[in-house]
Amino acid sequence: MLSQDATLIFQIAGIGIIVALIHTILKQMGKEEFAQFATLVGFIIVLVIVINGLSDIFEQIKSVFLFQG
């Protein structure tokens, strides 16, 4: 399970590096708006991953701590 979660970390790191790369290339080409847009899209993708995980962990904490039968 944890090895599968480690892929999540590599995924996010990869997205970060690739987005930074795209940002730099688009900026070099002189397309500032597209560079900003690419950064925004990458950020939204990562944010979706994080929010899924966060809701998961809060649900689990709730089921472990707060709703004891």
């Binding site: 996010i12 590096i17 930074a20 995980g53 709730k62 004891q68």
Partner: protein
């Protein structure tokens, strides 16, 4: 989960954070959040087995169920508040983190109100009526 796996996950995250920090600070911050999340998720399964032990002991000792449950709820609130506060503190917003902690303390006191009330009633019952 194996302790070694968790430690290596932390080290790996630190290295990746150092790589990405200059390229994209926001995604680096999210990376740290995800690592903390994964570690907590793997710990929570163990915590639930510890809680089974606590329930067993309290059953054997005939402690009233309400008290144990209140303590567990307090611990849960403390964990949630700690997660949120440390996240905001990592983002550099320590004032917001302090406010989250304040909210957690207030909710804990609200949970403890029935216990405090029953404690005071017990003490008052012991006092001689004069």
């Amino acid at each position: 989960m194996d302790i070694l796996q968790i430690v290596f996950l932390g080290i790996l995250t630190a290295i990746l954070y150092l790589v990405i920090k200059d390229l994209h600070p926001t995604i680096a911050y999210i990376l740290v959040i995800v690592a903390g999340m994964i570690i907590l998720l793997s710990i929570l399964e163990q915590i639930s087995s510890v809680f089974e032990l606590i329930h067993y002991v309290s059953n054997e000792a005939n402690i009233e169920h309400v008290y144990v449950e209140t303590i567990l709820k307090v611990i849960g609130i403390a964990y949630i508040v700690e997660i949120g506060a440390s996240m905001t503190r990592d983002a550099g917003l320590s004032s917001l983190a302090t406010k989250i902690e304040l909210a957690g303390k207030i909710f804990i006191i609200i949970l403890a109100i029935p216990i405090i009330r029953s404690l005071i009633e017990t003490i008052l019952a012991f006092l001689p009526q004069s």
